[in-house]
């Protein structure tokens, strides 16, 4: 048997694009799941059984990564030499920092029992949700720019750089939303999303 492709795109047989049709991805996931199902390897050699196990693990990790646009972009960026973590705070626009600071002041008030900041906090939550939507729209635009350009071309690299900045911003905003929601609903356990 040929060695297993380690790369998620290669494993799924998908082009290295940032926009992926989720229905096609799911279909491919089911096909590959059947192909590598351990039951089909019950009578095979130990070596092949091990390979099937490994394939299932790559398959599951790969599906989890590729079906989520943010995780997918982070994966492709890291592979193409744009590791996310290596970026410093310079990409955070100053006005966002200002807002974050104000937000933290409010959070501190609410935590110390001052309920008057609560309505403002709810407003902040809406505001940051809106910011995240904006980032997501920009991300989709850059995904398209990347996918339409030639691989490793200046345009493609520029798009990846842009995406890295956006992903960092998104992560920042995501953390803020989490903090606000925690402060607004300190005892409510998180409910799983419907469906």
């Amino acid at each position: 048997m040929p060695p297993l492709p380690r790369d998620y795109y290669g494993f799924f047989g998908f082009d290295r694009k940032l926009a992926i049709d989720s229905a096609a991805l799911q279909k491919r996931f089911y096909e590959l799941s059947r192909q590598w199902h351990p039951d089909r390897f019950g009578r095979k050699s130990a070596e092949e059984q091990e390979m099937a196990l490994e394939a299932t693990s790559i398959l599951n990790d790969g599906y989890r990564t590729l079906k989520d646009p943010v995780k997918r972009a982070e994966y492709l960026l890291t592979q193409d030499g744009f590791p996310i973590a290596e970026q410093r705070g310079k990409d955070v626009p100053p006005e966002l920092l200002e807002e974050v600071f104000e937000l933290n002041m409010m959070l501190e008030e609410v935590k110390s029992g001052d309920e008057s900041a609560r309505p403002q906090l709810e407003q902040s939550r809406q505001h940051f949700l809106g910011l995240r939507e904006g980032v997501d729209r920009e991300l989709l635009r850059e995904f398209q720019r990347h996918d339409e350009s030639v691989e490793a071309s200046p345009t493609s690299k520029q798009a990846l750089q842009e995406i890295r900045g956006l992903l960092n911003r998104r992560r920042y905003i995501e953390n803020l939303i989490r903090d606000v929601e925690r402060a607004l609903n300190p005892v409510t356990p998180s409910r799983p999303a419907p469906g």
């Binding site: 973590a85 970026q87 705070g89 100053p94 920092l97 974050v100 600071f101 933290n104 960092n168 920042y172």
Partner: protein
Amino acid sequence: MAYSDKVLDHYNNPRNVGSFDKSDPRVGTGMVGAPECGDVMKLQVKVNQETGIIEDAKFKTFGCGSAIASSSLATEWLRGKTVDQALEIKNTDIVNELSLPPVKIHCSVLAEDAIKAAITDYKKKQGVLTPEAVAVH
């Protein structure tokens, strides 16, 4: 991970917490943040415009103990220095003073960035923004 005694001291008794009026021409404000961990740090200096000496410094940091300690220490060091001397404070000095472990070095980097941002803001207000002051950023 255990914090060093000095970090704990600054964390439990932070020096110079507070803020100055941002619009005061003697005040320089630096606001920096780290997207990875959500830390945000505001550091302000109040400068004697005749001597160029930093007479007071204040900070407010939302972040981990090391980030709070780094900025607290920075305000202590800033007092009495000229604005140009302030720019010589390096994050490695903070790392050494507080015995920060490698995973917390970014907190000291944040503090250094905050100092530079505050001094740059002050210089901008004075209208003496030199190319060097821009370049250090």
